[in-house]
């Protein structure tokens, strides 16, 4: 497997000069850190020439402290049996990413969801604007600076009696007038 990984690194680095790689020696996983503009070309190259025909997942992480989103494209080759992670970063203010709809058709669903939940614009993406939410006029809800508990408390009714978080152990002790045994004391808050 190390030989396969070494071949792969050499193929990618000859065609894409500024891709950094990171190897995980005990697993069948290989990471590449690239710029966001060369995402369509590196994925097409991997699909057509190197046998990576299956797009498994597109993951997204919100790094609020660094001011960036990170998009991770995870592709799989059934012959070589190695997972390849292609990672790109995009800034949080007015994010724009290229569209990979024409390479794999299922990317349309992922990109529609990211457009609605994070506010990322994809160039040339078609499809309905609303994917999951209906008549939503707030900020994109999955960003880390949107507080969901405050929004839920303000918009919906709550059944009274939930605000007081009583400790179960102490209530039982008050009712039956017993002592907490020593081995259980370290689990109390």
């Amino acid at each position: 497997m190390q030989q396969l990984k070494a071949n792969l690194i050499e193929h990618i680095k000859t065609s894409f000069k500024d891709a950094r790689e990171k190897d995980y020696p005990n697993e069948n996983r290989l990471d590449f850190y690239v710029n966001k503009q060369c995402i369509p070309s590196i994925l097409t190259y991997a699909k057509d020439r190197l046998g990576y025909i299956h797009l498994s997942h597109i993951a997204i992480v919100d790094w609020l402290e660094e001011g960036e989103f990170e998009l991770i494209y995870i592709i799989w080759s059934p012959e070589e049996k190695i997972k390849m992670f292609v990672r790109a970063r995009v800034e949080r203010e007015n994010p724009v990413m290229p569209n990979i709809d024409m390479i794999w058709r299922q990317a349309n669903t992922y990109e529609r969801e990211f457009r609605e939940m994070y506010g990322i614009q994809f160039q040339g993406l078609e499809g309905e604007q609303d994917f999951v939410l209906e008549d939503w006029d707030g900020p994109p809800p999955m960003r880390r600076d949107f507080d969901t508990e405050a929004y839920a408390n303000e918009t919906f009714f709550h059944r009274p009696g939930r605000e007081d978080a009583l400790d179960v152990r102490e209530e039982i002790i008050k009712r039956s007038r017993e002592e907490i045994p020593d081995f259980a004391k370290k689990y109390s808050r």
């Binding site: 209906e134 006029d137 969901t148 839920a152 009714f157 709550h158 059944r159 939930r162």
Partner: protein, 181 residues
């Protein structure tokens, strides 16, 4: 028109007895809890011996079973379905998400208390309730109908403005017909 009080009582007893032994449930799985409805309706926990079976459209159903949590998008459709059902009609709240929000108590998309938007007759507790609990819930509803106390539909008609104000507060785009029967 029957003006005699004793005859009215006899007619009520016969009417309630026949209604409670033939309750048809609308086929609409609104949430998680719809996974325990097929075991209730099939061979082991047979619900058809109590007269309960599935109905395909709202015009033919008596009970609306809200199985689990409701999002605002589903609530709009459920209100429309509820207003299309004919009298007498009953609503059963299934699971602890209809009582106080359950484990999604801080989600921005689910409603927490069902009672403010639709009139509920019986609540069934649990996450998930077992099929025996569902049968016990139906039994309790039958008892309430026999005593003449299951009147969620009349409560809806009398307090219509209050229910509509609560519903319009969370559904911004209101394109539904006005309820006039």
């Amino acid at each position: 028109m029957i003006n005699d009080k004793n005859s009215q009582k006899i007619v009520d007893i016969i009417q309630n007895w026949s209604r409670k032994h033939s309750l048809w449930v609308l086929a609409y799985g609104t949430g998680c809890g719809a996974i325990e409805i097929p075991p209730t309706m099939t061979s082991r926990y047979d619900a058809e011996r109590m007269g309960v079976r599935g109905a395909a459209t709202p015009r033919q159903a008596d009970i609306l079973l809200i199985t689990g949590y409701l999002t605002t998008k589903t609530l709009k459709r459920v209100i429309r379905v509820y207003e299309q059902m004919q009298d007498p009609k009953y609503v059963i709240g299934f699971g602890s998400c209809t009582i106080n929000g359950g484990m999604y108590y801080d989600s921005y998309n689910t409603i927490k208390v069902l009672d403010k938007y639709l009139p509920v007759d019986v609540y069934i507790n649990g996450c998930m309730p077992r099929p025996e609990s569902v049968l016990a819930g139906f039994g309790k509803l039958q008892e309430l109908i026999g005593d003449g106390k299951a009147n969620g539909a009349t409560k809806y008609k009398e307090n219509l403005e209050w229910y509509k104000a609560n519903q319009k507060k969370i559904i911004p785009n209101w394109v539904m017909p006005e309820y006039n029967w």
